[in-house]
Symmetry: C2
Subunit: 425 residues, 2 copies
């Protein structure tokens, strides 16, 4: 039986088979996401992977249903596997924000699902690091969030030569659009504005003629749009963020680039995307300010400014692999206990329990096994030490061998744990 | 908008609201599950939360569909949210077992889903620690697995006074059943055997008359069943496990109890369940040997003996809370940086970046804030230290205050990180 298309299995390393992902690499990524978020004072939350369908259509319109894993449950509820985390966050904030001091700095590592048309290598699920700041309108929050994106990527060994944050402003584009449109008609049609943002979002991926035509239909020329992008004139907000990041020593990780506008309708201020410098991969992360969303999702009950980003595991893992920054993960075994004399199995079990209680990672042969095969197993499992009990004429001793240096040592059984702590290398 | 019934939201602590779960406590449980599994040489794996429906009906029959979140996806595939992990494990093992030396010791922490009839407090999802040993028929593997259950629970501070593993043998019951049935008819009907196991499984929860009647229909008397249970005569396998655990010093955590038989049809050997000693809660964990399942799931392609257990987060969290063993989780903030002089914001940002780069957890006021309010915030966030830059006549200094002892210290900005490392307490 096969797993569903677009879904992944995660196996322990080493993984000699192409068709599988590494559970160890995934955990490595999760650990660093979590550690960096904590360093920045972000706290973890999570919601259900299954939510009422309406939670997602409310924000993104009925269009999104085409891309969802949605169904009716046995209670005839319209439900969907979450395609993104922000609506759940807004719902949770709406329910309990009074219990938390503002600003709330929260993160989550949800698995997200989209029923995308099946293409080669295109996945229908991924994990996403989500961090959001809720309840702070000042642009200093935007800078803090972008700094978190930068330091998260740096925690994997990526440098300013590997990635850049392209910084932009939905508001600058809004002003641009409204300035032009008001000249012609005196008021702005939100649907037209959204259509305009969609064209800008696709500008780099779409044939110029197509963009030109679509812009023309909205009353703009491609040239004036390109001129605006080329100017890269930072707004006062952008300028403030650049200065904040410069004070942190992070200026070289960002550049203003008005190509970025973010596809989703709900952004209201600063928007940004992280890309690899060589331009080989899709966006590593993306986010921005969405000051009206909490109000929308909570039906007006709670109105808080907010901003956030998402960083997926798939592009990040591809990038780390390509840059040689993904460690190999072996079993991290501290000791393999050899049982060559079966009459000492009980004493060996006692020793193993003792070592594990001391926090050491220990394995051993569950059944009688030839000594050579046991030793081979210890090496395969990349154990730091082998440990073997022996009955001498008058006492039980433990022979410890460092499997890297091949150094040997003989001690009493209760001295083994102290000998192996602290863990080598 | 409400979340779906039977699903949980996980919030950062402190959680003053009844209706929410702690994301911090959840992470605490996951961390200990993971750490103990590693100490025992188990490696992590994971599969998709959504699988072909057939993967689950194959093993458990069509009956299980009633309890599943199942639906047809947009590609008209019959799919279901996983109700348990073992079928996925068997599928994954079937696909790639050749790449792994036996025995394989694997664990996972999946979220599982069941569409149970809505009862007060009854959940439709939970997280479950799953650990399995694949490719080892010897009963030593059963002992190793049970030792892992015990040490996992001990890692939370639970002792032999808090819980006990009730150890039993599906095979002993099978012999009991077949011995009686063969006397009467000479062969065994698997459906009848399964019906018999179901009655034994419910014996403690069902009215004696009901059990008596059901057993009678199968040709057994309640008395002979109760006599067998009371005898508690360990089989040779059980005896061997008890000796193995005694060698590890874990004997007092287990007792033979033939009440346990496990409801699922696929167990073939040793079975066990962990209960709190006071009998206040449902089973904390349960598992056993299922030597035929891998063959069944892989359609005969791979035939490996296997055994495993599952431990859910819900009962465990209830038990830890009841025993006062659940720590409180605050923000774990190492330092809160006070910015009383706004002209020093840039220098403060530089310092904050420096501290975070050193691995410290640091927060600060994003916007100009009254000094008293800032200090209050530092205390609310349970920061270990406050740090404040000050411009003296000839240099920039940092004032560090230990918020527990109220001790103060003045150093240069670049001495702050070393002063705060290693983390106090």
């Amino acid at each position: 039986m096969e797993r569903l298309p677009g879904f992944r299995d995660f196996y322990p390393e080493p993984i000699p088979h192409q068709d599988a992902w590494s559970a160890d690499a995934r955990q490595y990524v999760f650990d660093r996401w979590r550690a960096t978020a904590w360093r920045y004072g972000f706290r973890e939350y999570d919601g259900p992977p299954l939510e009422p369908l309406e939670l997602f259509t409310l924000k993104s319109g009925e269009e999104i249903v085409k891309q969802l894993f949605d169904f009716r449950d046995k209670g005839d509820r319209a439900v969907a596997l979450r395609p993104e985390m922000t609506p759940t966050l807004a719902r949770m904030v709406g329910a309990h924000e009074r219990n938390y001091k503002k600003p709330m700095k929260w993160f989550a590592i949800p698995q997200l699902f989209r029923y995308e048309k099946q293409q080669k290598g295109r996945l229908r699920e991924h994990f996403q690091f989500n961090a959001d700041i809720i309840g702070e309108a000042a642009v200093a929050a935007d800078a803090e969030l972008i700094a978190l994106v930068i330091d998260t990527l740096r925690s994997f060994g990526l440098t300013e030569n590997d990635f850049v944050i392209r910084l932009s402003s939905r508001k600058a584009w809004q002003d641009f659009f409204e300035g032009k449109r008001q000249n012609a008609q005196g008021r702005v049609d939100p649907a037209q504005a959204d259509a305009f943002y969609q064209v800008i979002d696709k500008l780099e991926r779409q044939a110029p003629d197509e963009s030109k035509e679509k812009l023309g239909a909205l009353g703009f020329s491609l040239d004036e749009v390109n001129d605006f992008i080329k100017s890269s004139r930072p707004t006062a907000e952008l300028q403030s963020i650049l200065e904040d990041l410069a004070a942190r020593g992070l200026r070289e990780f960002v550049k203003v680039d008005y190509h970025v506008i973010r596809g989703l309708a709900y952004y209201t201020g600063i928007v940004f995307e992280a890309f690899d410098r060589k331009g080989e991969f899709r966006a590593i992360a993306g986010g921005g300010r969405y000051d009206n969303l909490v109000k929308l999702i909570t039906g007006g009950k709670v109105d808080l400014p907010a901003l956030g980003f998402g960083m997926g595991d798939v592009v990040l893992l591809e990038l780390l692999k390509a840059r040689g920054l993904l460690p190999k993960f072996d079993g991290d075994l501290d000791a393999f206990c050899l049982i060559e004399d079966e009459t000492l199995r009980s004493e060996s079990l006692k020793l193993i329990q003792n070592l594990r209680s001391a926090g050491l990672t220990v394995d051993f042969p569950l059944t009688p096994t030839k000594p050579g095969k046991q030793f081979k197993r210890a090496l395969e499992l990349k154990a730091a030490y082998s440990v073997k009990l022996e009955q001498t004429k008058d006492q039980l001793v433990a022979r410890i061998k460092n499997l890297k240096t091949r150094e040997e040592k003989t001690v009493t059984p209760c001295e083994v744990a102290p000998c192996l702590l602290p863990k080598p290398g």
